[in-house]
């Protein structure tokens, strides 16, 4: 069964450092997403990406965040200057237009900012 692959599974970074979280969506999917889940809290939407541009973003997704699809397979989330409150599980998801079986999520990257 096709999977969404995320790397690394766990990243520890110093406050103020830049991090890049990587995702390989399912190959025939067209819509890509980043969500995050702070420990003990709800899964929250960050951004959606279609046709090489952001289609929607939440209030969380401020100027410190950016997304990119640098080639035909990877989808990345960059946090420019990490804060302690950025510590969370970050999930990448993808879906194909019109699919009835929902978004497919990756296993996540646990980001710890110290």
């Amino acid at each position: 069964e096709p999977e969404v692959t995320q790397t690394p599974s766990h990243q520890v970074t110093q406050m103020g450092q830049e991090v890049i979280l990587r995702c390989v969506p399912i190959s025939n999917h067209l819509y890509f997403y980043w969500y995050r889940q702070i420990l003990g809290q709800k899964v929250e939407f960050l951004v959606s990406f279609y046709n090489n541009e952001i289609s929607e973003k939440s209030e969380i997704f401020d100027d410190q965040f950016s997304v990119e699809r640098p080639d035909g397979s990877n989808f990345t989330l960059k946090i420019r200057s990490t804060k302690l409150e950025d510590s969370a599980m970050y999930f990448c998801a993808s879906t194909a237009q019109g699919q009835a079986y929902g978004y497919t999520f990756g296993s996540g990257t646990r980001l710890t900012v110290v």
Binding site: V4, K42, F45, Y50, F105
Partner: protein
């Protein structure tokens, strides 16, 4: 603003003891309601999508139903391997809005 509320927050069942999880929602322009299973430290795993009131879907011991204001996930004769957090999410616009989840523990 779209809102999704799940209850109970946690549920302990004995193996074989059937029960239901609730997801109530308010949303503009519902495109679908999703149920996911999430194991600790993992991403949400898709279970069901429901699109219109009255719709029902089943998979093994799980059955999801939908009304205009809420959805239920019925678990029949659960087993310990059904222990997980069950997430409900509504699809509106171009995003999913999740509820807080129900943490289900099934004891043998």
């Amino acid at each position: 603003e779209d809102q999704v509320t799940q209850s109970p927050e946690a549920l302990r069942l004995q193996e074989g003891e059937s029960s239901s999880l609730n997801c109530s929602y308010t949303v503009s322009g519902l495109r679908g309601l999703f149920w996911y299973r999430q194991d600790p430290g993992k991403g949400p795993e898709f279970l069901f999508t429901l699109y219109s009131a009255g719709e029902e879907k089943e998979k093994e011991r799980l059955k999801a139903t939908l009304t205009k204001k809420e959805s239920f996930l019925h678990i029949t004769a659960p087993k310990p391997e059904d222990s997980a957090t069950y997430l409900c999410a509504v699809h509106a616009g171009n995003m999913l809005t999740f509820g807080g989840g129900t943490r289900l523990m099934v004891k043998p």
